[in-house]
């Protein structure tokens, strides 16, 4: 599904140039659950942003589903993204002014799903995440675990092929964290590819494979059994 080759990304300020990704190559197959680990500043988030097409690389190739996307325009990337990729963040990133239902509905609106179909699909996914009873609440009225479930519901409502999770349990206690990891595992078992950035060895154990980064390069890959 994903194949990146010699990917490079620099951050420049007026005086300093920082290398975030240094000729990084890796691949992820369809249906895999991959964890990316590494110390702060190793380039994990940069990699995830590029994989999620939120950012573009300076050098190298990124092939997504047999399409070279490394130098796509923002518009094209956005188009590809909204149909194929769902995001889960550490800080949930729900929109405060919208209710649970409306937050989950939003991606469907942007992909032009008709209203009746939207209601059906949102209800379906809220049910699955067991937060149906909170559908008319605002994010601030929910616990962290509930918020993250809403965020996951929002990420999967469009039935993406790939979910990118950036420390999804980072702001949660261990019990809520485990719930979230179970949810992701279920999604993976139903066929969704998952790439997750994490600091937690515990969480990483849910994955099939761990890619360890240091200074923008792959230093080790562990296959989990």
């Amino acid at each position: 599904m994903i194949k990146i080759t010699n990917l490079e990304k620099f951050y420049r300020t007026e005086e300093v140039e920082t290398i975030a990704l240094n000729k990084l190559s890796m691949h992820v197959d369809t249906g895999e659950f991959v964890a990316i680990m590494g110390p702060s500043g190793c380039g994990k988030s940069t990699l995830l942003n590029i994989l999620g097409m939120l950012d573009d690389p300076d050098e190298g190739s990124y092939v997504f589903n047999d399409i070279e996307v490394a130098h796509f325009t923002e518009r094209k990337r956005a188009d590809l993204r909204k149909h194929n990729i769902g995001f889960v963040f550490q800080s949930f990133n729900l929109i405060d002014e919208l209710t649970v239902f409306e937050n989950v509905e939003l991606p469907l609106i942007y992909t032009g799903v008709p209203s009746a179909e939207r209601v059906k699909r949102v209800e379906e996914v809220l049910d699955k995440m067991q937060i149906m009873h909170r559908r008319n609440h605002y994010p601030q009225q929910l616990s962290g675990g509930q918020q993250q479930r809403v965020a996951i519901a929002r990420a999967v409502v469009n039935k993406p092929k790939l979910i990118l999770a950036d420390e999804p349990t980072g702001n949660l206690d261990s019990s809520n964290g485990n719930d979230v990891m179970e949810l992701l595992t279920d999604l993976n078992e139903q066929g969704t590819t998952i790439i997750m950035v994490t600091h937690s060895e515990h969480d990483a154990r849910y994955s099939h494979r761990i890619i360890r980064l240091l200074d923008g390069q792959t230093v080790m890959e562990n296959i989990m059994i």
Partner: protein, 794 residues
């Protein structure tokens, strides 16, 4: 999708109530001001358009040429209209209009009517003046026929039929009502309460229908729809040569005629009109309206972009989820349009509330209903357009955020954005300061004109109007004598006009320095022996009129300095005894008086001749003592009732009368003041919003500074400084602009104030103080806050 936009827009507005309020109040007030001005401008530009023949009606204008000057008049002489119709088939109709006044009596009702016109029958073919009773085709054919407006007819005859009823003009001339027409619309440059047939004037020998040199009426021509106006215009010089003999032309009958389209008459500042508008006022207020709206839009742009960081997260999330840039742009544009629509609703309410006041202020019914003429629709679409214009920049800024930096929380207001906001604040205050300077200058000029020494006594001078009633004229001396018997009455005189009330201008010939007769156009005052001493007009050379010289009543003239200068005399004494010919009177100059202002200070003092003529007076001027004025007036009224029972007691005061000329300027000044206040109010609203936002962002910084030992004044100073600098820059830009603008405005006044440096100091200080109050309020609050709180909250 749209539903979603609306939802989040409303929730956003609600969550940030104070920002929404500032935006909505600013925009609503701006729109209201704009809307009222728009209606005013529309009204001013609508003058005379109700006439079906609007495009084919022309006024006959005249340039009267004398060796030293050309007078541009809107009037014509009596034979011109009929001769044009006779000579040129494309002139289908003509109507002459002569303004007049009569005391009109019917049964027991008696009113002094000062808004009467004599008119030719074709006036109803030229202008669209529908009848309620009677036949417009014949109503003004016969002499002594009167057509009244509905309001006047009701005043005299109630609701019944008025046709065939008779009235008495000045208590002695019987006349018959032959028609009742609808009231003349407010937006007509000709205006009257009643029309009397022109043939009445000829019958009463009030005009000489063959006199080409007496420009006593406005002449309107209805041209054929296919007529070529330029061609007709080109034939007018030949027309004059045909009708005015070579000999007469040499004697000063030297004119040019022009066809002035009806569309330009109302705004004709040079030739004037019975009801006169000002195109420059229309321009000035249009610009002011746009400025006020721009100021309100700037608030919106500034506050929205200043708040951008708050919304950056939302933008980022939406983008991640799949929103295209265009979808987000639409969302933010939608929000600004919603704000504008809410403001529009408030603006409609405010307009409803202020329209009556605005009508009163402008002295006419600009519109009696906000909802008429589809005005409201225009405002609505303007509101949406404003939403679009003001919203597009913030929308582009908000949607251009890079997702990755926004989601990492690494977002800060861009330097470019801050510079732009500061620039826009400078624009707001520049406009405000220009308006403040403008207001001060307008009021100063008004004050100057009111208090300028006019060259005559204007205090405690009562003017009693008898409208030239010959029954009063013949008894003038005895009436004056009786009035002077009243304790408190110091003196009395009779004259044809009083300063500020207009007077005839006469073709005049005077013996020049070379001994030859030179022509000029001189203003004319018919006075009695008491006029010059009573008015305290200073005599520079020769003497004033005296009963000791029998020829004074038939052969003597007193002229003013301006006449002297016009003729090229260097000393007043040189003019004494010179030959003087004017309107049939042949005599000599016996005295030269110091210039006095017989017209508004907008004009330079023109040549003026005074002569004794008790048979052409209209008013008494009565000088009263300063003591018990109401009692004196009451005594005068009693005396008047016994002396002149047939005429109503109608009086004014000379100074008030004179100052009435500045009514237009006073209204202008008042409107200017209101709009300046509005502009500064909206600007300050914006400043308040920006200041509170900027303090909010710096809460942590303020906390740290306080912990490190900064005092409250130091912090207030720090927070206020950045905004006050902007006001300072605005002042520097505004001063030359304001100077230039007001200097141009003052050019309309022959006697004008100097725009002193103090005006700029006052305006600058005023703006500065208002800004300080606005900003420091926020700053003090922030500075007084407990730093522990602000630091913990981070």
């Amino acid at each position: 999708m749209i539903k979603n936009y609306f939802k989040i827009a409303f929730r956003n507005l609600w969550r940030h109530k104070s920002f929404s309020l500032i935006n909505i109040i600013g925009l609503a007030v701006g729109m209201t001001a704009c809307f009222l001005i728009f209606m005013y401008v529309r009204f001013e530009l609508s003058y005379d358009k109700f006439n079906e023949n609007f495009d084919h009606v022309y006024r006959l204008n005249t340039d009267i040429k004398s060796p030293n000057e050309v007078l541009h008049w809107g009037s014509a002489s009596a034979p011109m209209g009929p001769a044009l119709k006779a000579d040129y088939p494309q002139v289908k109709e003509f109507a002459r209009v002569f303004g007049y006044s009569y005391l009109i009596e019917s049964n027991n009702h008696k009113f002094q009517e000062n808004n009467i016109s004599f008119a030719d029958p074709a006036i109803f073919k030229i202008f669209t003046l529908p009848f309620v009773q009677g036949n417009p085709a014949t109503a003004l054919n016969a002499p002594f026929s009167i057509v009244m407006t509905e309001t006047s007819a009701k005043k005299y005859f109630g609701n019944g039929n008025a046709i065939g009823k008779s009235v008495l003009l000045d208590g002695k001339i019987p006349a018959t009502i032959t028609g009742v027409m609808k009231d003349v619309p407010d937006n007509s440059h000709i205006s009257f309460d009643m029309l009397i047939s022109e043939s009445t004037m000829e019958k009463k020998k009030m005009i000489d229908p063959t006199e080409w040199g007496n420009f006593s009426n406005y002449t309107y021509l209805l041209l054929d729809k296919s007529a070529d106006v330029n061609k007709l215009q080109a034939q007018l010089p030949a027309f004059l040569i045909k009708h005015i003999s070579e000999d007469k032309r040499r004697k000063g009958y030297n004119y040019d005629l022009f066809l002035g389209p009806l569309s330009g008459v109302y705004m004709d500042a040079v030739r004037g009109a019975p009801v006169n508008g000002s195109i420059s006022n229309v321009y000035i207020f249009s610009v002011v309206a746009i400025f006020i709206l721009v100021i309100a839009c700037i608030n919106f742009i500034n506050l929205t972009t200043a708040r951008a960081s708050e919304r950056a997260k939302e933008v980022g999330i939406r983008k991640v989820i799949g929103a295209a840039k265009s979808q987000l742009t639409k969302q933010f544009l939608g929000e600004s349009i919603i704000i504008c629509i809410i403001s529009f609703l408030f603006a409609v309410l405010l307009s409803l509330l202020f329209l009556p006041m605005f009508n009163q202020l402008s002295g006419k019914t600009i519109s009696d209903n906000v909802f008429s003429h589809g005005y409201i629709l225009i405002l609505f679409f303007t509101a949406i357009a404003i939403g679009f214009i003001a919203g597009i920049y913030p929308a582009l800024v908000l949607t251009s955020f890079s997702i990755t930096s926004v989601l990492k929380g690494r977002f800060s207001n861009s330097v470019k954005g801050i510079v732009l906001r500061r620039g826009l604040v400078v624009v707001q205050f520049t406009v405000s300061i220009v308006l403040i300077v403008g207001t001060i200058v307008v009021y100063n000029q008004l004050n100057y004109m009111r208090n300028q020494s006019l060259g005559f006594n204007k205090d405690q001078m009562m003017v009693l109007d008898f409208s030239g009633d010959s029954a009063v004229e013949t008894r003038a001396e005895s009436i004056k004598y009786e009035l002077k018997q009243i304790p408190g009455v110091l003196s009395a005189s009779a004259s044809s006009s009083t300063p500020g009330n207009g007077n005839p201008i006469a073709y005049t010939q005077v013996e020049g320095k070379s001994g030859a007769m030179e022509s000029l156009n001189a203003n004319l005052y018919d006075v009695d022996y008491d006029f010059i001493p009573q008015y305290g007009i200073q005599v520079l050379a020769g003497r004033t009129f005296s009963t000791d010289y029998p020829t004074d009543s038939t052969k003597s003239f007193v002229i003013n300095e301006a006449t002297l200068q016009n003729l090229g005399y260097t000393s007043p004494n040189q003019a004494i005894g010179k030959h003087f010919l004017q309107w049939g009177r042949d005599g000599k100059i016996i005295g030269v008086i110091k210039n006095f202002h017989f017209a508004s200070l907008q004009q330079t003092i023109k040549p003026l001749a005074l002569r004794i003529n008790p048979h052409n007076t209209n008013v008494f001027t009565v000088k009263i003592a300063g003591g018990n004025i109401p009692a004196t007036i009451a005594s005068i009224q009693n005396k008047w009732k016994s002396l002149v029972p047939e005429r109503p007691f109608s009086y004014t005061f000379l100074d008030e009368n004179f100052n009435k000329q500045y009514k237009g300027e006073e209204t202008f000044g008042m409107l200017f003041l209101y709009f300046a206040v509005l502009a500064i109010f909206i600007s300050c609203l914006g400043l308040l919003g920006l200041a509170s936002y900027s303090t909010l962002q710096r809460t942590r910084e303020i906390g740290i500074r306080k912990v490190l030992g900064a005092s409250v004044p130091v912090i207030v100073n720090m927070l206020s400084k950045e905004f006050l600098q902007l006001v300072l820059i605005a002042a520097l830009i505004a001063f030359p602009l304001a100077w230039w603008g007001m200097h141009t405005w003052l050019q309309d006044f022959a006697y004008q104030i100097n725009i002193g440096w103090w005006i700029f100091v006052v305006a600058g200080l005023l703006a500065f103080m208002i800004a300080i109050t606005t900003v420091s309020f926020q700053a003090i609050r922030a500075a007084l806050a407990n730093p522990v709180k602000s630091l913990r909250s981070e």
